[in-house]
């Protein structure tokens, strides 16, 4: 070890600071059961969501066909189906709420991807086909503005401008802060984003609730993770 060049050690330290290595090197993520596939529904038009699979049940509000930030088509995880109705996860408050929409004017999709954020260990594990393939160090919410726990999904994939907070990319989630009802003009929306113009030390808990990742990790993620991909946030 003494003979290793300092530059190599420095490079190793930098690498370790952002990437914890293949998931196989860690035991905790592999113990988690993640479904190999997740059914999704892309909305071709706005849908009324109901509490039960019939239009006589309590209305839960309208889900727009396109997401507000980018105009991307809305894609929702499908939790079940019954008689022409889809049980879907819904974006926004209350966190993790679900409802039923009509199957008409939707397009079925699937994803093999799944993200798991562990706030206690401050890391993000990427699953493909039920197998953990990457683990990344992250910054999570501080005690006063914690990252909310629950089952969520990616609402939108956003390419930010270089001057934007959290550039270069953000994955806006269906989760909302349990503390901040409004933040910076938005609804307290939780996202995964980069470190540009905001900073922080990976592995710490200093954010307002968002999950910050190294810029190169975000570039890796946005090439693979799109709307509808499930995101589980646990302790």
């Amino acid at each position: 070890m003494r003979g290793l060049p300092l530059t190599f050690l420095a490079a190793l330290a930098l690498f370790a600071s952002t990437w914890s290595g293949p998931a196989s090197a860690r035991t905790a993520p592999s113990a988690r059961v993640v479904e190999p596939n997740q059914k999704l529904a892309a909305l071709l038009r706005g849908h009324e969501a109901f509490s039960k699979p019939n239009s006589e049940s309590a209305p839960l509000g309208r889900v727009r066909a396109r997401r507000p930030l980018t105009g991307e088509r809305t894609v929702l995880p499908v939790l079940g189906a019954r008689g022409g109705w889809l049980h879907v996860a819904l974006p926004g408050r209350p966190n993790g709420h679900t409802g039923w929409i009509r199957q008409t004017a939707t397009v079925p999709r699937t994803t093999r991807w799944h993200l798991v954020v562990e706030t206690s260990s401050r890391r993000v594990t990427v699953y493909r086909s039920g197998r953990a393939i990457r683990v990344f160090k992250a910054i999570v919410g501080k005690r006063s503005t914690p990252t909310p726990h629950g089952k969520f999904f990616v609402e939108e994939s956003i390419e930010l401008r270089p001057s934007d907070v959290g550039a270069p990319f953000a994955l806006a989630l269906s989760a909302r802060s349990t503390v901040l009802q409004e933040f910076d003009g938005g609804p307290g929306q939780i996202g995964l984003h980069g470190l540009d113009n905001v900073g922080g030390v990976l592995g710490s808990a200093v954010s307002h609730g968002c999950v910050r990742l190294a810029d190169r990790v975000m570039r890796w993620l946005v090439g693979r993770i799109g709307p509808g991909v499930p995101v589980t946030i646990t302790r």
Binding site: N37, L69, R112, I158, Q181, G185, C210
Partner: protein, 295 residues
């Protein structure tokens, strides 16, 4: 808070040696000066967290009645009485949540917000009609009613986060053609009116701020509200009005989608499609509006 400061200083004084007596005197003098200066201005107000009620422009406890063409920008809901009349002439730029779970949660959050607003302090007393006055950020309290005839000016002195909280022990009543004006960076999203009983906005008035009323809210003919009308227990009555929910725009600069035209370089992401299964593979898009994630 002032009481606490004096107690703390007194406690410290007990353990000071005589040699440190002059230091204590200076501290006491500084504290007294601070109290004098602060006491002369309105107390600093904190924000009133509306919770899920934030998205609502109109929220009621015992129904919503509308007459004439009224435009509501923001959500609308009422619970536990879910009756709505005159919705045919309502234009809703938002969602009619009716009495659904979203409304019920918002009503619950409204109670918390109401109590938070009522508990803000220390307060500056207001007794006379607010018309013709210019007020600085702070918490203003009337043990009975608050009236407004003419124009009330709220001056933020260049601070866009400046808060204004008004507490009325009983009613809030504005005269016809009265208005709330905002100057020097004051924003309607930072103005709150906590009303102990009911609020009535006079004909043709222009009102700014979120009304959190214990009972009912009546918005008479031709009134424009930049804010919210949120009634805990009573009804909301509208008549040919415009209710525009105020949301604080973000303070750092975004210019929407401009400058994003040159993103052809991201076609390279197509190469990842094989990883994602159909449809869920990522391709980031530039935002069409300010993003505003929690950071």
């Amino acid at each position: 808070m002032q009481h606490f400061i004096f107690r703390a200083l007194r406690g410290r004084k007990l353990v000071q040696s005589r040699a440190a007596g002059s230091t204590v005197l200076v501290a006491v003098f500084a504290a007294a000066l601070f109290v004098t200066l602060v006491g002369g201005a309105a107390a600093a107000a904190h924000g009133v967290p509306l919770g899920t009620a934030t998205r609502f422009a109109v929220l009621a406890g015992s129904g919503i009645t509308n007459t004439g063409p009224t435009t509501v920008t923001g959500d609308l809901g009422t619970y536990p009485t879910t009756s709505m009349t005159g919705t045919g002439s309502l234009t809703i730029n938002g969602t009619n949540q009716a009495g659904d779970a979203v409304t019920q949660q918002a009503k619950s959050d409204l109670v918390i917000a109401y109590k938070t607003a009522a508990g803000e302090g220390p307060t500056s007393p207001i007794t006379a009609d607010l018309g013709g006055q210019s007020l600085n950020p702070g918490v203003y309290n009337s043990a009975s009613s608050i009236g407004l005839t003419g124009t009330l000016t709220l001056n933020a002195h260049g601070n866009p986060d400046a808060m204004f909280v008004f507490q009325a022990g009983s009613t809030l009543k504005t005269a016809s053609a009265s208005s709330v004006a905002l100057v020097n960076g004051a924003r309607a999203c930072n103005v709150y009116w906590q009303v102990g009983s009911s609020a009535t906005l006079g004909t043709g008035s222009t009102f700014r701020g979120s009304i959190l009323a214990h009972d009912s809210i009546t918005v008479t003919t031709g009134t424009t509200v930049y804010g919210r009308v949120l009634a805990r227990n009573g009804a909301v009555t509208l008549d040919t009005d415009t209710i525009h929910r105020s949301a604080c725009a973000q303070t750092h600069k975004h210019k929407g989608g401009k400058g994003h035209k040159g993103h052809k370089g991201h076609k390279g992401h197509k190469g990842h499609k094989g990883h994602g299964g159909s449809g869920s593979t990522g391709t980031a898009h530039p935002p069409k509006r300010p993003v505003g994630l929690t950071g």
